[in-house]
């Protein structure tokens, strides 16, 4: 086991040891490296001012570049990667032979900065998209920038800067950088377990699944870290001391999605971004909702299994996954068990997970669900935690509903099915009125709370309306859209009577 970590920073190899295991990349950059271009705007992964780009090889060996929030990323998570910060774009590492980097120049040309504090983060989000060759088009630039807040410009000039960068041509200086980056990463690759820490706390990154499981079974009090999009906040926001952290991200095989004819098996370190690549083509309905889950940065770090394991009552994924009939696999040492995901969530803050047991897989049946629909209601459209999340699916036979799954987040202490609604629907005709009538029973299923995201009244009313909305879609093909071409065509022909 190595007690130091190795990664590339702006083209230079770094060996880091003897710092607290909970040191965030942002604090390390700003305090230890005096690289102050990356800014702290929130320390919770919401504003994006700290965005840096992390390059890693995919399974096929090709590099991918992910924008991440350095404020909630632990330094140990960088083992074997290549990090580029805003300073790196201006140095020989990434800069063109003369002048500013094209991404930086576009921001200047389009007047994309005013106060300039958010600007390094925007530059790095655009840089990641520019590297990956996707995310700079009119239909996806909002996703690219959803994790970066700007309070000055109103975004239009930044969007224009991004759109101006869309190009399939990779300049020579960038080709050379990528070759160099690939060789630098290859040169530091190894298979050892690593740890980083001091007398305050330790960050341990096992390399093998058996080692991970054994360690956790042996020391069930350690904190498992996956993407740190939640655990990172325990440190930055709650100032919690986590004496030992055990990271899933380096474990060989943990980042795999195994696919066979019947199911997808999602490993503990699979990020939302990676999962979305597999889920989206199978269930397009999930794609749009997952696209609004966190931000590009959060989806690049956060993991599906982590989202489940931490048992958030709101988490947008569980309702969708429960609707899909997903199962969770829990492992303790060498033993594993499986249970339906809905049974995993016992009560608020409580999951069916014994000491030493960890979420080792999420198993999703790959059957297509033509009647699956997902709805996410939040105060802001992008990058906001839901007030209400709904994922609904039915089966029917000859116009009679035979089965229904109506799963809600934000309505109870755990993601939960609306059993009264489901029971009512079974045996009813496949007609909007059935859903309108079923929706009235939602009040029997849930007594939601009032909090800063929405009142109990709003949650109940909106969740009921979502059931009607679902009925309109499934029964009459009415897709309620606020904008875009569908908004006109689907609504202009509307003739449905409101069910009484």
């Amino acid at each position: 086991m190595r007690d130091y970590i190795t990664f590339i920073l702006n083209g230079e190899e770094q060996r880091v040891c003897d710092i607290a295991g909970d040191t965030t990349l942002l604090n390390w950059l700003r305090q230890f490296k005096t690289l102050t271009g990356s800014k702290e705007g929130c320390a919770e992964g919401d504003c994006g001012a700290c965005t840096v780009v992390v390059a890693k090889p995919r399974q096929d060996g090709a590099l991918v570049w992910r924008p991440v929030n350095a404020c909630i990323l632990f330094v140990g998570m960088l083992e074997g990667t290549s990090v580029t910060t805003v300073e790196g774009l201006s140095q020989s590492w990434a800069a063109p032979p003369e002048g500013l980097h094209p991404v930086q120049q576009a921001m200047v040309t389009h007047h994309g900065s005013q106060c300039g504090f958010c600007t390094p983060g925007f530059v790095m989000s655009l840089f990641a998209a520019w590297c990956n060759g996707t995310g700079l088009e009119a239909d996806n630039i909002d996703d690219t920038l959803a994790g970066n807040l700007c309070r000055c410009t109103g975004y239009r000039p930044i969007v224009d800067a991004g759109l101006s960068l869309a190009s399939s041509v990779v300049p020579d200086f960038e080709q050379r950088r990528r070759q160099r980056e690939a060789s630098l990463i290859a040169a530091i690759a190894h298979d050892d377990t690593v740890s980083l820490g001091d007398d305050r706390n330790q960050f341990v990154a096992p390399a093998k699944a058996s080692e991970f499981a054994t360690s956790y079974a042996q020391w069930p009090d350690v904190t498992i870290v996956s993407g740190a999009t939640d655990v990172g906040l325990w440190v930055t926001k709650q100032n919690r001391l986590l004496p030992t952290m055990l990271w899933t991200g380096r474990v060989s095989g943990f980042d795999q999605i195994k696919i066979d004819a019947a199911r997808l098996r999602i490993g503990p370190a699979v990020t939302h971004h990676r999962a979305l690549e597999e889920l989206a083509p199978r269930w397009p309905e999930i794609a749009e909702t997952m696209r609004r889950f966190g931000s590009t940065q959060v989806r690049a770090s956060g993991t599906v299994c982590g989202n489940i394991a931490n048992g958030s009552p709101i988490g947008d994924l569980p309702p969708m996954l429960i609707a899909l009939g997903a199962e969770v696999e829990l492992t303790h040492g060498k033993a594993s068990r499986r249970l339906p995901l809905e049974d995993f969530f016992v009560a608020y803050g409580q999951q069916d997970r014994a000491p030493g047991e960890f979420v080792s897989s999420l198993i999703v049946p790959s059957a297509p669900l033509p009647y699956l629909r997902c709805y996410k209601l939040s105060k802001r459209f992008d990058q906001d935690i839901s007030a209400v999340m709904g994922a609904f699916t039915i089966s029917h036979s000859d116009g009679v509903i035979t089965a229904a799954r109506f799963v809600f987040g934000g309505m109870a202490g755990v993601p939960q099915r609306a059993y009264n609604v489901e029971a009512f629907l079974c045996g009813k005709p496949l007609a909007t009125a059935s859903f309108a009538n079923a929706a009235r029973l939602l009040r029997d299923d849930f007594s939601p709370l009032t909090d800063m995201r929405g009142s109990a009244e709003y949650r109940t009313q909106a969740a009921s309306n979502l059931i009607l909305k679902y009925g309109l879609d499934i029964c009459e093909g009415i897709k309620i859209r606020l904008a875009g071409p569908e908004a006109e065509t689907s609504l202009a022909t509307l003739s449905v009577a409101v069910p009484s």
């Binding site: 300073e87 005013q114 800063m452 409101v498």
Partner: protein
């Protein structure tokens, strides 16, 4: 896609650098991460950090405060309480009512009661948990309704009036009464409050602050340390956003850093993290406005009475001036002959609300725009008709000489009718409104709405003495120029504009002008960079300084070359002297060798202003800035979700000093205003704790919230007053263009088909919209 922008090419008769599109002077540093903010400044190794300990009660007596375990915690250097202050325990901007550390009674949850001085922030955070404070809770007043009911005010209510509104309403053909409530707004500058204090010799203190008001920080630090202003120097190079939130709210971090530096003899830094920033600092005032209006069947408004109650929080801060501006903007762009505005300054046990872009003006305007909307609904006409019918007369109309506001100022520069007419055409308003009518009849589940709202915003500080500025221009013998002025750079491009003004005056390239940090040691007694006045005041002061140097050069060169001074001109980096020509650098060198003083201060005080605070009348504003926006929205009737489909803006920046920068102010201001009125919701719980204290819970607009189609153009005109190059202030006015979104949402709700008025409060969250849909008998599950 944006509308045409006036450029120097399209403005006849204008050459040179002013009126041209120039990038922000720090743009290349912003994009490379090389623009330092306070927390980026390299500090000596012995620098300590300051963490403020906050009250956990909204209103309570402090019985005991035991910090002994804090002091003994590892890495803690010392703690600071009220007893450690050598001077005055106050950091308020005006009224002396903001203690640095509350020592007997706490008046909001989050209030500063002590501070930890530590080697590292981790040590300070770890130690914070060891503070033992015992409180005796007192009843807390949290809301406007509670304050109004219990008579909790900071001072007497104020009134502004014209004509006889009571009789006019009584005799009007129609009358209406109503109420609108609007929430506050967190500034959410991306850079939190930050100050670094470095002790000097003889007890001097040097500070680097993220502040709109270095002079006030100089004064407050001197007060707290019990020293004179000359011992304190404050420097501000740039802020990572401010929006009014760093006018007075930078005082506490600065004085705590200075106090720590004073007590330890070490450099000290106070930097708020995001949650502390939310909990400690004031926000935009939330407001409740009751109205009565009398009008005729044509929609002509005879009289309005407004009762404005604003939540000031636990102390005055700048609330008196903010309340006054809210009163002064209760007319917006409408000439209402009979009007009375009453203002109640509610004291609550919450953060002390403060300046925020618009400074009360936006709240006042929401009141009158709501009245217009309600009147139009009552008469079943397009609100635009009511708006146009009540506009102040056009500046070229002789009636404008008689058009007085309710505070007695003549509105002689109105171009709102022109702007509106042009915008109605360019936005295709009438056809789109007709289309929306058809759409809403055909669609049950989505309703659309459109609204045009105007802006007339008074430019100048209401407080007369603040309308002054100074500058210092240094011309070196190589022809390079160092520029300093009293304004601060917060992203608005002030330094760029003033460099343009100075470069233009000397006829040199902007590259010849070095912009330097604002520093109380260079230009003293400055006003806050606020009230949109930065370029107007400091630009004029810099222009005056440049003119002083230039005229000395002209006098000298005229004598030297025996030409009349009228034959000397500065252009294209050269000085033309009769038939001869010198490079600007040669001319500077010649003047230096001729022993001509090449440095000058410049000063400016806005003319024509007078204001009688007691009667609430006078001419508080040098001129008005105008603009208008048309927004179209769509609302999901089952969820309240909504989207801005299109916004068209035509805005008056006078003869713009820099159309690129002004465009940025307009677009950004609009989006910020729209955010205030839609998704930005501050929530306090019953204990008075702000529960929305980070971006995870407080939602400013994100990228996808900007209008899907966004057409923004500058109105082609110039200031009728002699402002700097006939430009107009542009910082605050565009924020109020965001009102078009609120009233477009109101229009969309009207599409439900009910005869009831939507009575929409702000922020119009999805939740509020869905509740309105339900009230109006919309299509959801009953």
């Amino acid at each position: 896609m944006n509308g045409p922008l006036p450029t120097s090419q399209s403005l006849p008769g204008v050459t040179g650098i002013v009126h041209s599109r120039q990038s922000h002077d720090s743009a290349h540093k912003h994009v490379t991460g090389m623009a330092p903010y306070v927390d980026d400044i390299k500090t000596p190794n012995n620098t300590v950090v300051v963490l403020i300990g906050q009250s956990t009660h909204a209103h309570a007596r402090i019985i005991t405060m035991d910090l002994s375990d804090v002091i003994s915690a590892p890495g803690v250097v010392r703690v600071m309480t009220a007893a450690d202050i050598p001077g005055r325990n106050d950091c308020s901007p005006v009224h002396g009512d903001d203690p640095v550390f509350a020592d007997k009674v706490v008046e909001y949850l989050g209030q500063s009661i002590f501070a930890i001085v530590a080697e590292t922030m981790q040590a300070a955070r770890d130690a914070l948990a060891f503070a033992k404070v015992v409180y005796d809770p007192l009843p807390a007043i949290l809301t406007i309704d509670q304050a109004m009911k219990e008579g909790s005010f900071l001072g007497p209510s104020a009134t502004m009036a014209s004509g006889d509104p009571d009789s006019a309403i009584a005799t009007a053909k129609h009358s209406l009464t109503g109420r609108i409530e609007m929430g506050g707004q967190e500034h959410f500058y991306l850079e939190g409050q930050a100050a670094l204090a470095v002790p000097g010799e003889d007890g001097d203190m040097n500070l680097f602050c993220s502040s709109q008001h270095p002079t006030e920080i100089q004064h407050k630090v001197a007060d707290v340390l019990g020293t004179a202003s000359h011992a304190v120097t404050v420097e501000t190079r740039r802020m990572g956003g401010a929006f009014g939130g760093k006018e007075s709210q930078g005082n506490l971090p600065a004085v705590t850093a200075a106090l720590a530096a004073h007590l330890t003899g070490r450099p000290a830094k106070t930097v708020y993290d995001r949650d502390d920033d939310f909990m400690l600092t004031g926000k935009r005032h939330d407001m409740r406005i009751d109205y009565s209006v009398g009008f005729d069947s044509d929609g002509r408004i005879q009289a309005v009475i407004f009762d404005q109650a604003l939540r000031c929080g636990m102390s005055w801060d700048l609330s008196e001036a903010i309340a006054t501006r809210a009163m002064c903007h209760a007319d917006n762009a409408y000439h209402i002959p009979h009007m009375r505005v009453i203002s109640h300054r509610c004291k609550t046990h919450t953060q002390s609300n403060t300046a925020f872009r618009g400074f009360g003006g936006p709240q006042g305007m929401v009141g009158i725009e709501r009245v217009i909307d309600a009147v139009a609904h009552h008469l079943d006409v397009d609100p635009l008709v009511v708006r146009q019918r009540n506009f102040y007369p056009h500046k070229d109309n002789e009636e404008s000489a008689l058009a007085h506001t309710h505070y007695g100022q003549t509105v002689s520069d109105s171009i709102i009718a022109d702007i509106t007419e042009q915008l109605v055409v360019s936005s295709d308003y009438h056809a789109r409104r007709a289309d929306i009518g058809v759409f809403n009849k055909a669609n049950r589940w989505v309703k659309r709405g459109i609204a045009l709202t105007p802006v007339k915003f008074g430019i100048s500080f209401n407080t007369r003495f603040l309308n002054q500025a100074g500058a210092l221009v240094l011309l070196y013998a190589d022809g390079s120029i160092q520029l300093n002025h009293g304004g601060t750079e917060m992203g608005q491009g002030l330094n760029t504009k003033i460099a343009q003004i100075v470069a233009h005056e000397f006829g040199v390239d902007m590259g010849a002008v070095k912009i330097t940090a604002t520093n109380t040691g260079k230009v003293p007694n400055t006003s806050a960079t606020a009230a949109s006045s930065g370029a107007d005041l400091n630009g004029m002061a810099a222009l005056n300084a440049a003119r002083t140097i230039k005229s000395r050069m002209v006098d000298y060169l005229a004598t030297l070359h025996a030409v009349d001074s009228s034959n000397i001109s500065f252009a294209d980096g050269r000085v033309l002297i009769g038939t001869e020509s010198l490079s600007f650098a040669e001319a500077a060198k010649a003047a230096y060798l001729g022993r001509v003083q090449l440095s000058a201060t410049g000063f400016y005080a806005t003319p024509k202003l007078h204001w009688d605070k007691d009667s609430g009348s006078g001419r508080p504003f040098y001129y008005f800035a105008y603009g208008a926006a048309v927004s179209e929205v769509a609302v999901d009737m089952l969820t309240g979700e909504n989207r801005i489909l299109r916004t068209d803006i035509l805005h008056d920046a006078g003869r713009s000093l820099n159309p690129a920068i002004d465009l940025g102010q307009i677009e950004g201001g609009f989006v910020q205003g729209a955010g205030w009125l839609t998704t930005e919701e501050l929530v306090w719980n019953d204990a008075g704790k702000l529960t929305t204290h980070a971006p995870s819970t407080y939602k400013i607009p994100a990228c996808s919230d900007r209008p899907l189609i966004f057409n923004v153009a500058l109105f082609d005109g110039e200031n009728t007053e002699e402002s700097v190059h006939r430009s107009k202030a542009v910082g605050e006015p565009p924020l109020m263009l965001g009102l078009s979104v609120l009233f477009a949402l109101s229009h969309a709700l009207g599409g439900v088909g009910s005869v009831a008025y939507p009575d929409l409060d702000a922020p119009a969250t999805s939740e509020r919209l869905l509740a309105a849909v339900a009230r109006m008998g919309g299509p959801g599950i009953a």
